[in-house]
Symmetry: C2
Subunit: 532 residues, 2 copies
């Protein structure tokens, strides 16, 4: 172990909602927000208590050798029962969480993981790998009754940075490390992973790798995949480590097969990750567009250039208003450039020229309106958003996001259709108009990743069902436009219907065969990616 | 079909050696080259003739429905018997080619491919997918006797560009198209795939995809993989097409599983490929270094910047001399920048500054020594090299290349050890000193891809065996340094020993299981990646 663990924070995580328990909006703030959404409750739902849940004794007992790794503490079990999607929050608020795991294990080594998998396989115990627990697609809960018991395999005790290769800009890191702890360890070396998903504080390296998380970059290497140099994977059929290589053409990439396997093929326990020098040169600006179509043309031009902005987020008028980036009905493009090599002002300049060519106008500068006011507003809103979601959920609102990616030809109609059809479905389901906003989070020369936010008044007591109805409509629109069911939220259990429609059948055959070979007892995250 | 096929060239391909038959060195040139390599023959071996081979009748007859797609013509069969590695050329020169396929099929549609696979499966006929036939790793020949007959599946009749999406910069292309034909079809649209491997003229899109070919870029997106937007794969268990997406996080990437599958899991018949605007801005320069260590430091600094040179090839002193890029014992770094967006002079300038910081000197400019003289010399030599190899082979020399990739920490000792140990092995094997040169073809922030050229006097009549001895020594050095058995030449049959040592066991289990599911009769390119 190259470095000691950093001191743990003493803040408490919310068991039922996003992030820190003390960062949630209070009742007054909930009421204020609720007043903005027609059809919400008159009073916030109470913050749910674990003590109110009926949690039975575990159906299995681990053998003595594994007992020190395992707990049956009800509070720990309850906090591992679900991820952090809106439907998870709504279920917790209504006192009907998913099946609560019988046991939670905190392995400290690959050997521990292998031993736990062996025991689980022998006893028909489902194993649900768990990192930061921030899944929004039902990735960390067990559904159904096919297994006699459920073990949540919490990797967060395996959180060390084991080795740093400064010259080669890489680090060997255990999978259970959370985002801030990893960056804290790398900072003294002048290095960074630069992977900053919205869940950064509450998600782990292993979770990012297992779900192919989308990260900091809006262009180029947008995904954690490209930064994985080597993986160690523990499977019921054995453990393997890919070589640490900058690139290899030896057969299909072993790492790319486990990236995105969502705990169904094995448990990623450590990885050599490619790092970067901390960027010292930065420049950002916001560009306003009166119409979204012009903005899309501008973004496409920038994405097809070789300028490679670190940030290139297009907010539609609703999203820009919601985040405070604009209040006049404009769409706003937030552009950011970063480099450790050379100043980036020129690149920003060329990008702004491209944006202006397509009708964009840059913000006025001056003491009262610094050019990046919209940028700052958007950033703050971005990090606060999941907490606000939970506050609105307490008001009985339906508040959720979903994301996709599609080729440029499909993007305009896709955005229109989602707005129209999900909006109509919300009105049908709740009797109230809904907010359906869109932003582009990642852009590519050949397409983009739209990210939608839906805020609707609820049908009190029935919030999950309402969301399921809206999401089903949304999924059909995505399918019609051949837009992926997920750009970076993963498949989990919630996206299985659409994933199964999207996945080419020969690959499904290969995946099923691989699953049988690697997990012969079918205990690894059952129901994710494949049927139980 | 969106575009008619271009008129075919009337030049004749060499059946035994590289490229065009009329581009091979004549006897006088062979003698001249041979004089430079100690231990070669006094006279060139004669150009081998198909008429001198004993080619029996095929062991199987296709059914009437497939007969129009299939030929048993001995000349066609002989020209499909092997790839274009040195050992293939040597075997042809010595009149002992590998097992000659019984039949060669030229399917015209996915249906044809599926029908051929079905028939082959039912009759135990091995199917070896064949594009341009430029494999240098035994990827397109059959070895052994486990199958009653061998069908070479030549995809080159499926060579249409079916659709071009100009706004989305993508094209749907059949797998059998050769490099020049593809670029010819794209040029009128101002687009290019910009994939220019050394084999460009004689290799196909399908071959590039199936072997994860390395392409034009020395940095960033170095490999065809990143340009594949969607693949269609025909397998004995069914056909599937991945969705056309700019990016997707829905499970492990289906495309990445078939990329690099080398014809063992299915036949890639078409792909949507990401294209680029043709770069109008270019700048290149050569930098000389007195020592390779300094040069490596410079290259690492450039690779770790965000300058992303299109070309960043480091030639060691021997390689620089061989290609005419320098004659004073210097190592030479060939740098090139290209952009369709903006002038690249500044990026070249920053890169040259980095190179100078590490002891590099740029060439003098002036009428007699234009700054890119070394660049031009190297480019011409690069394209002519495979023909010269065949000329030397006719002189009984052993001439071959191999390539790898490793992290930066391993690179200096790896290059030294290959030079020393392969050099010593050559002297042991042939009694003569050998030339062992190195260049870096692709560079990454975390490592590089060294490419070695070996020229040794032969052991007349025994050239393949000599090469196998040298390669075995080389492979052990690669393994010791945990350098991949191949950066972009693929595994084929020649690299199986090292590939099996390198591949993580859980992935081997998954691959074997997938192979059984997709190719239940075990007829697809048997022996490649996995045992028959």
């Amino acid at each position: 172990m190259a470095e000691a663990a950093a001191p743990r924070t003493h803040r408490t995580r919310s068991w039922w909602g996003w992030g820190w328990a003390d960062a949630h909006p209070d009742d007054a703030e909930c009421l204020e927000m609720g007043a903005l959404v027609p059809g919400t409750l008159a009073r916030p739902l109470p913050v749910p208590k674990i003590a109110d849940l009926r949690i039975g004794p575990p159906a299995v007992t681990p053998p003595a050798a594994l007992a020190p790794l395992v707990t049956a503490d009800p509070a720990v079990r309850a906090s591992h029962a679900m991820g952090k999607a809106f439907r998870d929050v709504a279920r917790a608020l209504r006192g009907r969480p998913g099946r609560i795991p019988d046991l939670v294990a905190h392995p400290r080594s690959d050997r521990d993981v292998a031993d736990l998998l062996e025991w689980a396989g022998e006893h028909g115990v489902a194993v649900v790998p768990y990192g930061g627990g921030s899944s929004v697609v039902g990735g960390v809960e067990y559904r159904g009754e096919a297994h006699r018991a459920v073990l949540s395999l919490d990797l967060t005790a395996m959180d060390a940075v084991l080795e740093i290769d400064t010259a080669g800009r890489s680090a060997l890191v255990q999978a259970g490390i959370l985002g801030p702890a990893l960056e804290d360890r790398l900072r003294p070396h002048g290095l960074t992973l630069r992977h900053f998903p919205q869940s950064f504080e509450f998600s782990t390296l292993g979770g990012w790798l297992a779900t192919r998380a989308g990260g900091h970059y809006a262009t180029g290497r947008t995904r954690i995949d490209d930064f994985a140099q080597s993986l160690r994977v523990v499977t019921p059929a054995g453990t393997g480590t890919s070589w640490r290589l900058p690139s290899s053409g030896a057969g299909p990439s072993p790492d790319r097969f486990f990236l995105g396997s969502e705990g169904a093929l094995g448990v990623i326990t450590r990885a050599w990750m490619r790092l970067q020098e901390r960027p010292g040169h930065k420049a950002s600006a916001a560009v306003a567009f009166t119409g979204l179509q012009d903005a899309l043309q501008a973004v496409r031009a920038i994405a097809q250039s070789d300028l490679l902005p670190a940030n290139c987020r297009l907010l539609d008028a609703g999203e820009a208003a919601l985040s405070g980036a604009s209040h006049d009905g404009s769409a706003v493009l937030v552009l950011g450039f970063e480099s450790a090599t050379a100043p980036v002002g020129d690149r920003l300049g060329v990008a702004l020229d491209l944006a202006r060519t397509h009708g964009g106008t840059t913000a006025k500068t001056g003491a009262d309106a610094p050019p990046d006011a919209a940028v700052g507003a958007w950033r703050s809103a971005f990090l606060r958003m999941p907490y606000l979601r939970d506050g609105l959920a307490r008001m009985g609102a339906v508040v959720e996001t979903f994301e996709t990616a599609a080729t440029w030809d499909a993007i305009p109609a896709l955005i229109d259709d989602i707005r129209t059809e999900v909006g109509a479905a919300a009105r049908r389901a709740t009797g109230h108009p809904a907010l359906v906003n869109c932003r582009l989070t990642h852009v590519y020369p050949d397409g983009a990743a739209p990210y939608f936010t839906v805020i609707a008044g609820g049908r009190p007591g029935d919030e999950e069902a309402v969301w399921d109805e809206l999401k089903s409509v949304a999924e059909d629109v995505l399918h019609r436009h051949r837009a992926t069911i997920t750009h970076h939220h993963a498949v989990g259990r919630d996206h299985r219907r659409s994933y199964d429609r999207q996945r080419p059948e020969p690959f499904a055959l290969a995946l099923r065969a691989a699953k049988s070979a690697l997990d012969p007892h079918g205990v690894l995250n059952p129901g994710v990616l494949l049927d139980v």
